[in-house]
Subunit: 422 residues, 2 copies
């Protein structure tokens, strides 16, 4: 007997569990969620102890402070996690609703009913909160889930899975509803991506490399997303003070997130007056401008944090206080630039011109297209989805902020009276 992880057995168990989960009532699922929250509170000390060992290891291995902070659990963060699970329990259950139902000419009644997807595979990086979050979202939607988290948070993740298993057992649900691949062997990720007999959907939560790996290696449908090269185009009719407020919010409010601003495009007619004001507003907050030739000329003398944009700067998702800036001729040039450089996440036009606003909304086909709003508002919570599974930048299944419905599919139901095809 060896102790290598048997992914096929794991997949089989998950599939078996998914059959059971799909038949649960909303009450049963919500009760299990509340039990998870209760168990987490009751066993907070255990989770914190395991987390502190991850943190000590991370520090010993020279993990950056920002990563250590993402990894850290505190009493307050655990309370927040438990509250989050209880909040998911209060959301409406999408499973079981009928999307349409009609009578066909031959007398058959035809319905389309929302059902769980089945088995989800979720691959993620440092944050242990994802473990609890995704397990709760999966359970709420009647899906089984196979988790594979980052090495740095292994002990924290296993502690959280232990909490979840204890609660599932108490609720009379199969523990295989939530399984975790603890074995550090990296090849297991590749194996998981090929487990198409048992896993129905892969959700990567992490950087571009992880998404690329999943897209290229997976034989299972993947929800890719997360990476956002987000644009704002300041049109010539834009209200100046409002624009400065929106640009500041989009760039500075939080920099390490996918909906933060990466590239500012400015209409030529206002650039000379507007760009120095942008510099005056953002430079004191630490923003560095990566400017195209014309923007560079207009910003020179107004800020020291100015560099000439390199060829690929306009394709950068900065995740920092850097900002690409370019002067463009008009809305058409802005649309062309965005089509060439966008990752399809979120773009916004600042304008008071009806024609340009509607043209931008019609011709840009990113997941989220905005008029007079900060890209930071592109978010499941802000959109009122109740919970955010991930942000998709692909075009199939779900786009943009994904709520609970994105974890469901549908089946067609045919109610006949011994009907045959003529």
């Amino acid at each position: 007997m060896d102790n290598t992880t048997d992914l096929i057995a794991l997949g089989r168990q998950a599939q078996e569990a998914s059959y059971h989960l799909a038949t649960l009532s909303t009450q049963q699922k919500d009760a299990a969620l509340c039990m998870i929250a209760d168990t987490l509170e009751a066993r907070a000390d255990f989770v914190l102890t395991q987390n502190s060992r991850d943190i000590a290891d991370g520090r010993a291995h020279g993990l950056r402070e920002s990563l250590l902070d993402r990894l850290l659990l505190t009493e307050a963060r655990i309370q927040h996690l438990a509250d989050g699970v209880r909040q998911i329990a209060t959301l409406p259950d999408p499973v079981g609703t009928e999307l349409e139902s009609r009578k066909l000419p031959n007398g058959i009644r035809l319905s389309r009913r929302r059902i769980p997807i089945g088995v989800l595979g979720v691959i993620y990086e440092a944050r242990p909160n994802v473990t609890l979050d995704i397990a709760a979202l999966s359970l709420k939607t009647g899906n089984a889930v196979i988790l594979r988290g980052g090495r740095e948070s292994l002990r924290s993740n296993l502690a959280l899975v232990e909490v979840i298993h204890a609660a599932l057992e108490q609720a009379g649900l199969p523990q295989a509803a939530v399984q975790y691949i603890a074995d550090p062997d990296r090849d297991l990720v590749r194996q998981l991506l090929r487990l198409d007999d048992y896993v129905d959907m892969i959700i990567p939560r992490g950087g571009e490399q992880l998404h690329k790996l999943c897209r290229e290696q997976s034989s299972i449908p993947v929800i890719t997303g997360g990476m956002g090269v987000c644009h704002i185009f300041a049109d010539k009719s834009a209200d100046v003070e409002g624009s400065l407020r929106v640009i500041e919010n989009a760039k500075v409010q939080r920099t390490s997130v996918c909906n933060a601003l990466d590239t500012l495009l400015v209409h030529r007619d206002i650039a000379a007056a507007f760009l120095p004001q942008v510099a005056a507003r953002l430079a004191p907050q630490g923003v560095t401008f990566h400017a195209g030739p014309e923007a560079f000329r207009l910003l020179q003398g107004h800020t020291d944090s100015l560099v000439a944009a390199a060829a690929d700067d306009f394709d950068q998702e900065w995740l920092s206080l850097a900002l690409s800036v370019r002067v463009v001729d008009d809305v058409e040039a802005a649309i062309s630039h965005i089509r060439a450089h966008s990752t399809g996440h979120t773009e916004s036009i600042l304008t008071n011109d009806w024609h340009n606003a509607t043209r931008f909304l019609d011709e840009i086909n990113s997941a989220v297209v905005m008029v007079n709003a900060s890209t930071r508002l592109s978010d499941g919570g802000q959109f009122g989805l109740g919970a955010e599974v991930a942000i998709s930048t692909q075009k199939l299944h779900a786009r943009g902020p994904m709520g609970l419905e994105a974890l469901t599919t549908y089946k067609w139901l045919v109610y006949g009276q011994m009907h045959v095809r003529e």
Copy 2:
């Protein structure tokens, strides 16, 4: 200069065309479709001549009669194709409708609008009608399409593409809306599957091998489907005469299609009386029974077309007059068998028992689940979708018969007044 196909250039042109197509009005698209139908009728002789060369080549290469028939175009079939395109023009346009629209607490108006997917890649086998059909469905939904058909129908396909291009030009639309990869190099299929910078969705139309290749090689989301190991479970309360009619229809009406019956499961309590009647009804029509041990015993003496089922016979999509038969204990055993052997296409229960009917509907999660109906009814036309793009057996994006909506996605629109995130 060489004449190898430059797929990147092709992808770029398709993407450029897709921007234009996405802004067309329904009137413009429908006018172009009618122009395609008119041009096809006007140039029918040219298409028939090219097709007859494909047929002659096919015959010379020893292509089976059934394949030659799939390849053959006639005046009547061309008229049928033209009528089909005109019928697509009459369907409602799904693009541009808003799926939801509401006001967020902060005053933002948020909408979700249906838009084209962008660029489709369609890989298919012998039938030239797919060329016209898919081109018309793509145009109707504002998508550009890159086609790759079978070698056997190359001249027919190129003739049809020439017809389409002539009509697009006359309609003032970019010819790059419909492009065809004529180069026979098989590696181009692999290249197409990796063209994720330009192609948004891959639709394979063909056998299991093609679907497998796409699933494993593609870095672009794939709609897989087509393969159906379809089941009927005859429960003990089923009306006998009605059941015989449904089983006959599902197995015999057309055998080469994915929604034809592959496996018949019969409740133990009725098997001894029912199976001989099934044999009496189906054997004279040429059906061969591949029977599990108990079914074999009960069928023996009632038909000469009887063989003992091999281990993998219950995983066969027969596409012929073969039928797997097995006796099961009850609805629970039937559900277990189906879960283990189904490809998730279509399953039907024949019963008069409310509890068993609802249990089957609830616990089987195939794309289409039926009570008292023939699996042959699992079809876009029968379901009233107007047009059928493909049948999906995967769980993401679209399931079962796919209509025009399956060729669309959505974007979120945010209408702000200089809103920022608090």
